[in-house]
C-alpha cells in the first residue's frame, strides 16, 4: 500500500514533482495539489491527471476531507509561506518535506544523510545547487579531511523563477551552510551565476574541495561511487571530466594558510523533461531529490507501522 501525500505549491516545482510521483513512484500516491491561483497551469494539469486540487492554499488543504488520510506533505511554495505552513502541519502530525529555503527542519541530501533524519517531522532540501554539489564534497570528506569547500552553480536564466531572483542571497547562504553541515567542509562558500544564453544552457556545477591531504585514487573512487548513487535518483546527474588534482598552498584572509590538495570536479545536471525543460537540471534535481526523500521516508514509515 503506498503512503498518501499532497503537494503544496502549484508552480513549476510543485507540478513537476506531482508528475514525477505519478509516473515514477511505487511508495507514494498524490492525493492533492494545493495552490492559491485557480488559473494556474499546475492546478489545471492536476485536474487533467485526476489529482484533486484546491486553490485555497493551506486552509483548503486542512479543511479537505482528504487531509486526514495524508501522511506526507511536500512544500514547494516559498520560505515565508513554509514558515506559516510548518507549525500547522506539525500540529496535525504530518511529515513535511520542505523544498523552500525556510530550513525549519534539518538539511537533507539523500545520498549523504537521509538515513539520519527519517524520524524528523520536517526536513529541508537545502537548495538546487546544494543537491548538486554537496554529494561531491561529502564523497571527498568520506576519505579525506576537507578544510574548505566551494561551489559554483551556473543555471539558465529561464530556469530561475521569481522566488530565486527576489532572494538570491538565500541561495548562497543556505548552500554554504549545507557545504559545512553535510559536505563536511570546515568552511563553505557558494556562488550562483545566471546565464541567459539561447538555447538555454544545461545546469553546470563546479566543486572545489581543498583537503589537508588525501589519496587521489581513493578520492576519485569515492566521487565516482557517489555520483552513481545520486544518478539513481537524478538520472541526468553526471561528471563531465575526471577530477583535477592540484597540490598547493592557499592563504585566505580571515581563515588562514594551508598546504593541501585541491580537488576540482566539473558536473552537469540535465533534467528529465517531465514538466520542465531538460536544461532546467537545477529544478529537476530538487524535485528528484525530494521524491527520493519521500520514497525512502514512506518505506520507513510503513515498516514502522508493521513493526508496531
Amino acid at each position: 500500500m503506498p503512503m498518501n501525500c499532497a503537494i503544496i505549491g502549484s508552480g513549476n516545482i510543485g507540478t513537476d514533482l506531482m508528475i514525477k510521483i505519478l509516473r515514477l513512484s511505487e511508495e507514494l500516491e498524490v492525493k492533492m495539489l494545493v495552490g492559491i491561483d485557480p488559473e494556474s497551469d499546475g492546478l489545471a494539469r492536476a485536474g487533467r491527471m485526476g489529482v484533486e486540487t484546491t486553490h485555497k492554499g493551506i486552509d483548503g488543504l486542512v479543511n479537505s476531507p482528504l487531509f486526514e488520510g495524508i501522511d506526507i506533505l511536500f512544500d514547494a511554495t516559498s520560505a515565508k509561506a513554509h514558515l506559516h505552513h510548518a507549525p500547522i502541519l506539525k500540529e496535525h502530525g504530518k511529515r513535511s518535506i520542505d523544498l523552500t529555503p525556510a530550513a525549519v527542519g534539518p538539511y537533507v541530501v539523500p545520498v549523504a544523510n537521509l538515513t539520519e533524519h527519517l524520524d524528523a517531522p520536517n526536513v529541508n532540501m537545502v537548495t538546487c545547487g546544494g543537491q548538486a554539489t554537496i554529494p561531491i564534497l561529502w564523497a571527498v570528506s568520506c576519505v579525506a579531511p576537507v578544510i574548505y569547500g566551494e561551489i559554483v552553480a551556473s543555471i539558465a536564466s529561464k530556469s530561475a523563477g521569481p522566488g530565486t531572483r527576489a532572494n538570491i542571497d538565500e541561495f548562497t547562504e543556505t548552500t554554504a551552510r549545507g557545504i559545512e553541515e553535510i559536505g563536511g567542509a570546515r568552511k563553505g562558500n557558494a556562488i550562483i551565476i545566471l546565464n541567459p544564453a539561447e538555447p538555454p544552457l544545461i545546469m553546470r556545477d563546479t566543486v572545489y574541495a581543498f583537503c589537508e591531504n588525501g589519496d587521489e585514487k581513493e578520492i576519485t573512487e569515492s566521487i565516482d561511487e557517489t555520483v552513481a548513487r545520486v544518478a539513481e535518483y537524478v538520472p541526468g546527474y553526471r561528471v563531465l571530466k575526471d577530477p583535477i588534482f592540484d597540490e598547493q598552498k592557499i592563504a585566505m584572509p580571515d581563515f588562514g594558510e594551508y598546504h593541501g590538495l585541491k580537488v576540482t570536479c566539473l558536473l552537469e545536471v540535465e533534467g528529465a523533461g517531465h514538466y520542465l525543460p531538460k536544461y532546467a537540471g537545477n529544478l529537476d534535481i530538487m524535485t528528484s531529490a525530494a521524491l527520493q526523500v519521500g520514497e525512502v521516508m514512506a518505506r520507513y514509515m510503513q515498516k514502522e507501522v508493521v513493526d508496531n
Binding site: A160, R165, I168, D169, I193, P196, K241, P253, K262, L266
Partner: protein, 340 residues
C-alpha cells in the same frame, strides 16, 4: 552636458584583477593618497569580483575587503569610498559590514539581462543611506532597447545611477554612443559608463560617453584593470582638460601615481596585447584573462582558442570555472585529432 562629471576610480578594485588580488595595504594606501590628492571624487576598493569575491574561482586576495576598505578610509581626506557587490557572489550581509566600515557608494552589478536579482540589494542599500549604483555588465551582449529595459528596472529599485558596463571591452564607438544617448533620454537617474581597453577604445569610448552626457565614468591609473585594463585615468583627464570639460581633478598627481606607483606593480603589463585583444574581439569578460593564461599553460592549449570558445559559448561574468572546462575540451579535441 551634465553639471560636473564624476570620475569613479577603479584602480583599487578592477585593478585587483591585474595583480591577482594581491595589493598590499600599503600599496593601496599609497595609490589612494595620490587619487585623493588629485581630487578624484570616488575611489572603489574591493576584491576584483566584489565583496566576498575571495574564492578559488576568482582568487584569494592578500587581505579581506574590510581590511582594504579600512586602510583606504584611513588615508583619504575628500574622496568617497565605493565597494562593488555582485548578487550571487556577495550578500546583503557583506554590504552591511562595508557600510559599517565607512563605504559611501555601493555598486551592485549583474549581468546585463539579470537586473532583477539586484532588486533586494539596491532597495536595502538605499534604505541604509548608500549612494547606490546599478552596474549592468557585459552591456555589448544585448541591443540598446533591451539594455534600457533592464536599466529602467534598476532605476525603479531606487538606484541613483545606472552604468553601462562594457566588461568585455567589446563595444564599438557607435554602440557606445547609442547606449549612453538612449539612457540619457529615457532615464531620470544618473548614467555611468565603465569600459576596458581591449579594442584600444578605452579613452575614446569614455569620451563619447561624456559627450553624450554621462554623469559618471570609470577609469584607473595606468589603466590598471582586468584584460587590457580600464580607461587610463591620467590620459582621460588630460583629454578632458584639452576639451575644456570641468572635472575639478588635477593631472600631475595622477601622472605621478600612474608612473611611479601603479606601473611598477604590474607583473604582467596591462596593455592591448594578443590575449587582451581577443577578449574584446570575442566578447569575453575581461577578468578571464589571467585565469585563461594559467589554464593555457597548465593544459598546453592556445589561450586564444580558449577565449574564442568561451565567447562562442556565451559565458558571462563570474563563470571563470568554465575556463578549465573549455581548456580540457580543446585538449581532448587536439588529442583525438592527433590519434586520427
Amino acid at each position: 552636458m551634465s553639471s560636473r562629471l564624476i570620475i569613479n576610480d577603479v584602480t583599487l578594485r578592477d585593478g585587483m584583477h591585474a595583480v591577482a588580488h594581491q595589493y598590499s595595504l600599503e600599496q593601496m594606501q599609497a595609490i589612494a593618497r595620490k587619487l585623493d590628492e588629485a581630487g578624484i571624487p570616488i575611489i572603489e576598493v574591493t576584491h576584483g569580483d566584489g565583496l566576498s569575491g575571495s574564492s578559488f574561482n576568482y582568487g584569494f586576495p592578500a587581505h579581506s575587503d574590510l581590511e582594504y576598505i579600512r586602510a583606504v578610509k584611513e588615508v583619504v581626506m575628500q574622496a568617497k569610498v565605493a565597494a562593488l557587490l555582485l548578487p550571487g557572489i556577495g550578500t546583503i550581509e557583506e554590504m552591511k559590514e562595508a557600510h559599517k566600515a565607512g563605504v559611501d557608494t555601493i555598486r551592485v552589478a549583474t549581468h546585463c539581462t539579470e537586473a532583477n536579482i539586484a532588486a533586494q540589494h539596491i532597495e536595502t542599500a538605499r534604505d541604509m543611506g548608500f549612494d547606490t549604483v546599478g552596474f549592468l555588465m557585459m552591456a555589448h551582449m544585448i541591443p540598446t532597447p533591451q539594455l534600457l529595459e533592464q536599466a529602467k528596472l534598476i532605476e525603479s529599485y531606487g538606484a541613483q545611477c545606472v552604468y553601462i558596463t562594457d566588461s568585455a571591452g567589446a563595444l564599438l564607438m557607435d554602440e557606445t554612443r547609442e547606449r549612453v544617448r538612449a539612457f540619457k533620454n529615457e532615464l531620470g537617474c544618473e548614467v555611468g559608463f565603465h569600459n576596458h581597453n581591449n579594442l584600444g577604445l578605452g579613452v575614446a569610448n569614455t569620451v563619447i560617453a561624456v559627450e553624450e552626457g554621462a554623469d559618471r565614468v570609470d577609469a584607473s591609473l595606468a589603466g590598471m584593470g582586468a584584460g587590457a585594463g580600464n580607461c587610463p585615468l591620467e590620459v582621460l583627464v588630460a583629454v578632458l582638460q584639452r576639451m575644456e570639460i570641468e572635472t575639478e581633478v588635477e593631472l600631475y598627481p595622477l601622472i605621478d601615481g600612474a608612473d611611479q606607483i601603479v606601473r611598477p606593480l604590474q607583473q604582467r603589463p596591462v596593455q592591448t596585447d594578443g590575449n587582451a585583444l581577443m577578449l574584446g574581439y570575442a566578447g569575453v569578460y575581461s577578468s578571464f584573462l589571467l585565469h585563461t593564461e594559467r589554464a593555457s599553460k597548465r593544459f598546453g592549449v592556445d589561450s586564444r582558442d580558449v577565449l574564442i570558445e568561451l565567447g562562442r559559448r556565451k559565458m558571462v561574468g563570474g563563470q571563470e570555472d568554465m575556463i578549465v572546462d573549455v581548456a580540457l575540451d580543446l585538449l581532448k579535441q587536439e588529442t583525438s585529432a592527433e590519434a586520427d
